[in-house]
């Protein structure tokens, strides 16, 4: 990577795995779970968060010497809320159906702890470029988990991906269904998302023993 120094590259790469916002930092769980029943919603949510975090981190980093520390929470919330309104209006204009599916969860990006967490922990103390990279990296780490969860829930729950029937037609009994396979209706109910994330955490920590918590 000629464009990025090694230190800068780590800002993007770390949150993807060993410092993942969802599975390690435990930030931004709420929205991650509620909207992952379909892959498409997960992807759109990931992109929205990517936009809000990238721009938000830059704005906060630019303002970091101006904001009085006593009212910084309100200042941060206003910045995020403005960006989220932009995202929400865009979704309503171009993806109306999807914005109905996501309903209040677009608004809840405002209180997504990843965003506030990274503002507090990084953008308030670092330069613009590094804050931007940090924002992008964490949003990608968040997006990856969202997409993994959405992938498994839609594939196992409805047998589709992005709405396409990838496992064959369940009514005409073609493809995999011909062998007696059935969709697992359990995967589309909300609590299944928690269990899928739990399993992701399990797999990740089994692979990297350093992440295991003390009992």
């Amino acid at each position: 990577m000629a464009l990025l120094s090694k230190k800068d590259a780590n800002l993007i790469l770390d949150p993807l795995a060993d410092n993942n916002p969802i599975t390690i930092q435990v930030l931004g769980i709420c929205s991650a779970l509620a909207i992952t029943a379909e892959l498409k919603a997960s992807v759109v949510m990931a992109i929205s968060v990517l936009f809000v975090m990238g721009v938000g981190n830059v704005v906060i980093s630019l303002l970091r010497n101006v904001i009085p520390s006593k009212i910084r929470i309100i200042a941060q919330l206003i910045v995020v809320a403005t960006l989220v309104i932009v995202v929400d209006q865009m979704l309503k204009a171009f993806q109306y159906e999807l914005s109905k599916t996501l309903s209040v969860f677009v608004g809840l990006i405002i209180t997504n702890c990843i965003i506030m967490g990274r503002f507090e922990a990084f953008a308030l103390g670092n330069g613009v470029w590094r804050s931007f990279l940090d924002g992008i990296g964490n949003a990608l780490g968040y997006g990856i988990i969202l997409i993994i969860v959405g992938f498994f829930r839609e594939l196992l729950g409805s047998g589709t991906l992005f709405g396409f029937q990838v496992l064959g037609d369940p009514i005409a009994k073609t493809g995999l269904y011909a062998t007696g396979y059935e969709n697992n209706g359990f995967m589309i109910i909300p609590p299944a998302a928690l269990i899928v994330v739990g399993i992701i955490i399990w797999v990740q920590r089994s692979r990297n023993k350093a992440l295991i918590e003390e009992a």
Binding site: I73, I74, T82, P190, P191, I195, R205
Partner: protein, 247 residues
């Protein structure tokens, strides 16, 4: 009166903030290691929701929604400011939390000491903003119901965090596989509790046909039911909604 009772039980059990819509998960996971602190945070959430939901209801009713400005005069009747609701709601919440903190500190130092550290956290708890946004999305008709909704969804959240904190205190003595310890097992337990809470889904409607007089409030439920049944039909299954929630 009946609608108050119905909304109360619905918000606590069926649409539980944590188990049905996953709001406030961050603090739910972070502050549920001990029962005592969980109780403190839960109480603070009930309190703040009870204050902010009615307040935001007033804002929504008289400032934001389509035609809400009609009270200023007929020339304002065409304005629809609802796109501003995010920024206004979060500003209200942040201000109220700050205000509540100051008032509590002044008048009840004991309560302040027990809630103190949690109050600033609450401004960014999604359960609070979620309460206001759901209040708006579900068109809660009166101020009284909005207050009821705020308090009861707060109680639902309180119950959830209390339950998980109690379980986590006990699970410390169990032999959980090392990679699952802490966060992982908490996720899975919450998932199982969520499945348990799904069984409350049939509580208000009882059988498939809702009792008379509750049709307006159960309309949303029916909509959801139709949606799920439609999804299931697409999957080629003839499972009814009630079967799913009983699973």
């Amino acid at each position: 009166m009946l609608e108050h009772i119905e909304l109360f039980f619905k918000s606590i059990f069926i649409d539980n903030m944590v188990f049905a819509v996953f709001l406030g998960m961050c603090s739910y996971l972070a502050v549920s290691k001990k029962v005592a602190t969980a109780v403190g945070l839960g109480a603070a959430v009930i309190f703040v929701l009870a204050v902010t939901v009615p307040l935001n209801w007033l804002l929504d009713q008289y400032l934001l929604r389509d035609g809400a400005l009609a009270w200023l005069g007929p020339e304002y009747a065409d304005y629809n400011l609802s796109f501003l609701s995010f920024i206004l709601f979060i500003a209200t919440i942040a201000t109220m939390v700050q205000l509540v903190e100051i008032v509590v500190e002044k008048f009840s130092p004991a309560l302040y000491n027990s809630l103190g550290i949690f109050l600033p956290l609450i401004a960014v708890n999604c359960a609070i903003l979620g309460g206001s946004l759901f209040m708006q999305a579900r068109d809660i008709p009166t101020l009284g119901l909005a207050l009821n909704y705020g308090i009861s969804s707060g109680i639902g959240w309180f119950l959830a965090i209390l339950a998980i904190a109690a379980i986590r205190e006990k699970i410390r003595y169990s032999n959980v596989p090392a990679p699952l310890r802490g966060l992982g097992i908490t996720f899975i337990i919450t998932g199982l509790m969520g499945i348990g809470f799904q069984s409350f889904g049939g509580m208000l409607t009882g059988d498939n046909d809702p009792p008379e007089g509750t049709e307006t409030t159960t309309a949303e439920k029916t909509e959801e039911k139709e949606l799920i049944e439609k999804e299931m039909e697409e999957d080629g299954k003839s499972v009814s909604y009630n079967d799913i929630i009983k699973e």
